[in-house]
Symmetry: C2
Amino acid sequence: MGRKGLDYEDLNENVKKVQYAVRGELYLRASELQKEGKRIIFTNVGNPHALGQKPLTFPRQVVALCQAPFLLDDPNVGLIFPADAIARAKHYLAMAPGGLGAYSDSRGIPGVRKEVAEFIQRRDGYPSDPELIYLTDGASKGVMQMLNAIIRNGRDGILVPVPQYPLYSAAISLFGGSLVPYYLDEEANWGLDLVNTRQSVAAARSNGITIRAMVIINPGNPTGQCLSEANLKEILNFCYQENLVLLADEVYQQNVYQDERPFISSRKVLFDMGGPISREVQLVSFHTVSKGYWGECGQRGGYFEMTNIPPKTVDEIYKVASIALSPNVPGQIFMGLMMSPPKPGDISYPKFATESKSILDSLRRRAQIMTDGFNSCRNVVCNFTEGAMYSFPQIRLPQRAMDTARSAGKEPDVFYCLKLLEATGISTVPGSGFGQKEGVFHLRTTILPAEEDMPAIMSSFKKFNDSFMEQYQDYSKL
Amino acid sequence: MGRKGLDYEDLNENVKKVQYAVRGELYLRASELQKEGKRIIFTNVGNPHALGQKPLTFPRQVVALCQAPFLLDDPNVGLIFPADAIARAKHYLAMAPGGLGAYSDSRGIPGVRKEVAEFIQRRDGYPSDPELIYLTDGASKGVMQMLNAIIRNGRDGILVPVPQYPLYSAAISLFGGSLVPYYLDEEANWGLDLVNTRQSVAAARSNGITIRAMVIINPGNPTGQCLSEANLKEILNFCYQENLVLLADEVYQQNVYQDERPFISSRKVLFDMGGPISREVQLVSFHTVSKGYWGECGQRGGYFEMTNIPPKTVDEIYKVASIALSPNVPGQIFMGLMMSPPKPGDISYPKFATESKSILDSLRRRAQIMTDGFNSCRNVVCNFTEGAMYSFPQIRLPQRAMDTARSAGKEPDVFYCLKLLEATGISTVPGSGFGQKEGVFHLRTTILPAEEDMPAIMSSFKKFNDSFMEQYQDYSKL
């Protein structure tokens, strides 16, 4: 027999080239250990509910009623659902002819897109057009749609922060483009340094690459920094000068754990700048129901908003979205609810506010516990998690550990993370999955384990780390 | 200013090449007319709930409870939910740690994949391995994943039936492959003729195309035929001889409206054949919760099952699926419920059975009303809808109509369908969106309008058609 279409050797090379560390070797080994009965703490993915975070009650009540609209006619419905949840369910069902079981428009339900536009206007102080907002099955799908539209061939480059969330490297590989890294500066709290970025661009161009877009992740994943307004202005100026699309991954905009640098949207900064920049920089901003204090990852709800994108391109994006008919409708309702949560005076407001505050306050405390815990460990240094859901400590590995790892055919950080996993059940992602400077090693963990488990986890980490460092310490240097 | 990344002129050419007629010119015009207040009957998409089909009660109860798990502790829950729905919700929540708000494994929840495997085994009489079943956001997403893995470049060809569901042509364009058509034979009830298929293959090969996979849609979309066992055997033999992956779109397997040719899965026929064929033909089968008597399009639930696919390829498909983290979890629960619906003896069985039968019986009657209606019209001939959800009548347009259309810059069938839309509000898809033989014209309509509206719709169609034919009749031939 000859070769067949799905033989590994004959697959699309771009598919084979994709690397996706968040669910890579470490995750697979953790899954095996779990099958063998070991208790695993999955901190590899920002998946809050999987680690015990309870869903917010109000949105779940509304979506449950939308799933079972016949309950609205049940005389007992008022016994288990509050009146404002019932009213809100009717509001969304009126927007979605056929209910949750009907395909919506491929861009999403018009009424929900209007709620998104209203949210953006309240947030930024500038009007937003629902026709330029498309709902998606989570933010990742939106990012993939845009990269697919932009990337034409292997000479098209996308500027991506390193360390980066590997969605970007994976999607750029899949669509056959070139990732052009710009390095975030760990010593400057993972700030973006445009001098260095210009050097990356120049180097890529001298290799025949056309830079077409720039990705920012704000707050940062895996690095946790919040970009300052000044930094965002520099970035927008740079995109203007270089004719780059700015892809602004703002999925962690609700996840901010300090007061000095609140989240500011790229779009607000763009419009504040005024002049030709504000009319010409092509900007696509992404958001999701998976993060924030919602954490509704499994529902797959998200949106992207297009600013200064030509109408013909907007139509092309619509056409491609329509191939898969529509984003899932329950996820769209979650997006609508996130955009217009209960307001003071609503029956469900006090509970919603208490639940939200409790989650956010606890995340803030956990960010601190984790940073402090890492910084108390031998050979570990860690920037504070200003935002997002991750801690990204640098692990200063002794030469002997690096040599042992490489003779076992592993990257040193992979070797360290595997040992950590076997010893403690803590499942992290090695820094090499996100990119890091040559010879510098990290790991990424979420800050999501339950707050009451945090001290034990950090002490188990410290015990492992300090004995690992002891075992591999560099005697020659003593 | 220079060109920018999202300027239309600089988009990925494959994105621009995509055509998707189901939501194309006709759909856009219909949406405009609707905004202007005209009553539109959307028969362009197989979207049953949008046309008034009620969701099945039991699965909605279960998913509503999964969305709001706190209801399970409410003392009043038994007043509005039956005990078996409550038990089933607990069953799924136990399978999905973190509930509907947590990302699942990127392949889907293991317990649901096991339910899919058990369904397949009951259906076909051969065991099925849950590890080779991946859950997806609707079947379309699964088809796109497989085509993306198979297509390497523009010389890779995919055999697609013509007329075809435009998902295939759109996805093949998007991934930069070549669609190689094989024509279904309208005179033989849209049967597949392998002699003709071999000619298509030979012609493509002589143009330097490597044929890598073959798509079948059974029951057919838009053509509505059910493939016979003999036909499926021929197809599998052909794929074996030519080393083609068979992509079997079997999303309409519950939608069969005659008893002579029940649905038989490609997988069952493959295993019935035995010998090397059954061990070597690479087969991927697709299913969904969007069709059947469920019609839960908006939930975006689906699966694909891989047969005889090498393990390394299965791993690659997993890796790519993991980029977008997981299919939506509520859609996965719907898939599980479709695979294991209430059984005789369960509290909810009588209601579930009554609802299902009523939908299926009505679809069967509507298929007949529609076929008969079209065949009563002047210059219209239509095969009976044996399965699926569509009627695909041939419209024999007079020369004068064709000339008028072309002088208006329209394909003749687009011209006809636009006139139909303006006159009656019936929104169909022109046959050119699916492919048809040169000089032969069709339209596709779903059989989904409410049964009570059907006589009025068909009479409105007939009135339009017969006066159109009168207006454009070819006087020279009188």
